[in-house]
Chain length 426, copies 2
Amino acid sequence: MSNTEERIMRPSAFPMIEPEEATRLIFENVPAPSADDLEMVPLLEGDGRVLAEDISATQDMPPFNTTAVDGYALLSADADQPRRILGDQTAGRLSGLIVTPGTAVRIMTGAPLPDGADSVIMVEFTGEQGDTLTVQFAPKVGDNVRPQGQDLKAGQPVLPAGTLLGPAELGLIGTVNRPTFKAVRRPRIAIVSTGDEIVEPGGEAKPGQIYDSNRFSLVSAVRRAYAEPVSLGIAPDTKEELRELIRTALANYDGLITSGGVSVGKLDLVKELLEEIGAIHFGRVNLKPGKPLTFVTVEQDGKRKPVFGLPGFPVSSLVSFELFVRPAILKMGGRTKLQRQVVQVQLEHDISHSPDRNEFTRAIVTEQFDPAGGGYRYTARTTGAQNSSRLLSMLGANALLRLDPGPSLFKAGETVPALLVDRPEV
Amino acid sequence: MSNTEERIMRPSAFPMIEPEEATRLIFENVPAPSADDLEMVPLLEGDGRVLAEDISATQDMPPFNTTAVDGYALLSADADQPRRILGDQTAGRLSGLIVTPGTAVRIMTGAPLPDGADSVIMVEFTGEQGDTLTVQFAPKVGDNVRPQGQDLKAGQPVLPAGTLLGPAELGLIGTVNRPTFKAVRRPRIAIVSTGDEIVEPGGEAKPGQIYDSNRFSLVSAVRRAYAEPVSLGIAPDTKEELRELIRTALANYDGLITSGGVSVGKLDLVKELLEEIGAIHFGRVNLKPGKPLTFVTVEQDGKRKPVFGLPGFPVSSLVSFELFVRPAILKMGGRTKLQRQVVQVQLEHDISHSPDRNEFTRAIVTEQFDPAGGGYRYTARTTGAQNSSRLLSMLGANALLRLDPGPSLFKAGETVPALLVDRPEV
């Protein structure tokens, strides 16, 4: 016990690394999906998935000459003369009707163009009396005809592997007659809160205890990184139970996120346990908030699995997730664009800051049209007190301002880089 | 049969309305959530939900004076003198230790501040020998102490009803000891494709038939509007079966989207059936693509349920969904910000367009820093041929350029409004 006490009160032995080095180490050590990480996905479940095969057109689209409008299929050469109506060509079947000089066929949008016809006139420009059609003008060859293969040619590449799938992409996969497709499996990320002071909401916090918040934040954040979060609850108290929890998590899931106790108590235990079975790539980053961020990989069943030890303060936990864990999870999910957009923003007020840390300040960035410059300007104001514990400072924040080490005051009107955290990467 | 033929070849009887009028009619007639549409949601499932109650702090946060760092709780008045170490204060329990002049207590981040102490010094600035603590400088009163209630006061409003929930919000709800919360139920939106020419992917398209794409696009798009899509497949052929399908859809779900056959065939049947049981608010909009867009509401079991009849061409279907159906579904889901951001963009090339229609052209908008103006400029290029059938024109498009009726050519360098469709509304 005295041994433990001595250990936990020693300042961190991990070298302090810069954020760029942390990012480099994470990207170097977090695996992209392998062949084992692919699965077949039905079209109705495809939103937000990453395609893992090249999709090509199997036939021309449209597969036959067709009409873009409701009207009459006819011959241009008949000019503005009346035509005799032969019958109907509806969508979905071949009517067998053949348009010859002096005749026309009623045709519905999407129906195949009858043999013989070279153009379609819209119903709005026609009259019908008995079986005689009159036209207000002479159609030109090709009018309102969508020729076979206009949109896609058989064999044409449609979507490359790696594409993030949304409405248009899933429609295209249906069009080329694929009810399912090969996709990257969503990474399954286990999440556990640590700390003797942490109590499940709905339970009873005794004096000295508080309710868990990080796990709920992280489950939501992992889901927004297109992965599947798995909550493992609050970590057990004993080393044996914690060892078993970590083993089980790494055997069953693709990665693990812990929050809390990064410098003392439980997570020292986590680090100790992980050192038995894995490699600690870093344990301290020159960040504010987020300094104790820890990154470990464990080789398990032939796969490399990342463990992220996030700080316990809610803001530190979420900011370090956003900066380092989210890009890692995107990489694991087969995404290729991993980083948020960074823009230059003008400060609306003075901001004091730590002179020797890379500070990521929560801010509300707004975009305003600048009639003088003819462009847009981004301006930023912070979300009030920036304590690492004050989750309220994350509310409404759509950006993290990066305040590099240096002056202890950034003045109103100065320009700094801002990571826009509420925009997708598209 | 001849009666049917005559009907289906008559031009649309619906007046052509402007897009703004269509939006007004939709917002006027699509219901916001009522008390029946709320449900209790567990924290782990809360991402993307809309809060339906006000959440307040039930106690101070932190609930006790605590430390922001690992170090020693002590008295400022002892200045830089050595202290005698009384023992440990770990997180999660009360140690019962009392700091008196000349003494100190080891303390871990998040632990309650022992009685008597008025400050904490970080372990980095200390030394320990036997039970004696030395400090490198005199701490000031309050150093590294997080006073009770610093982040939240008991009773303080935290989140108002109507808030869209993400990582920070869900963490806050946990913090205030709420394992579940009242939220708006996700609207359940049924989706059906119509058209005799439409075949399920994986089936066999006969001559004149094509594979369904719209339903897969719309399921994905509905999911991205924070709603729950329900695919009802491809509509049956007969009027009786279709009546039964519409009745069942409206009895079981909050809304219905059909695609295809808006001007002829099946959807005339849909409109006919809907006129029996509901009200058609409009059946034609001055749009390109999307002109035949139809909006109907049906009173069912005391609730008003919207039906959107989208055109069959894939691009028309998706563009009219984006412009009109998405905001309606957001409203049904309790969202208050319903419209995408619109910015002014400069055209990278000439664009020809319909002189009498409101055209929404798919485009790739990029944002560039303009060192001269000190701001950002948006520029736009279109995604190739803009046929309504060419789903490829949606690929990679992150904006819809609005080209109002007027000149038939917009020139490179001209500025037009663009709806940014790949940004969330935050």
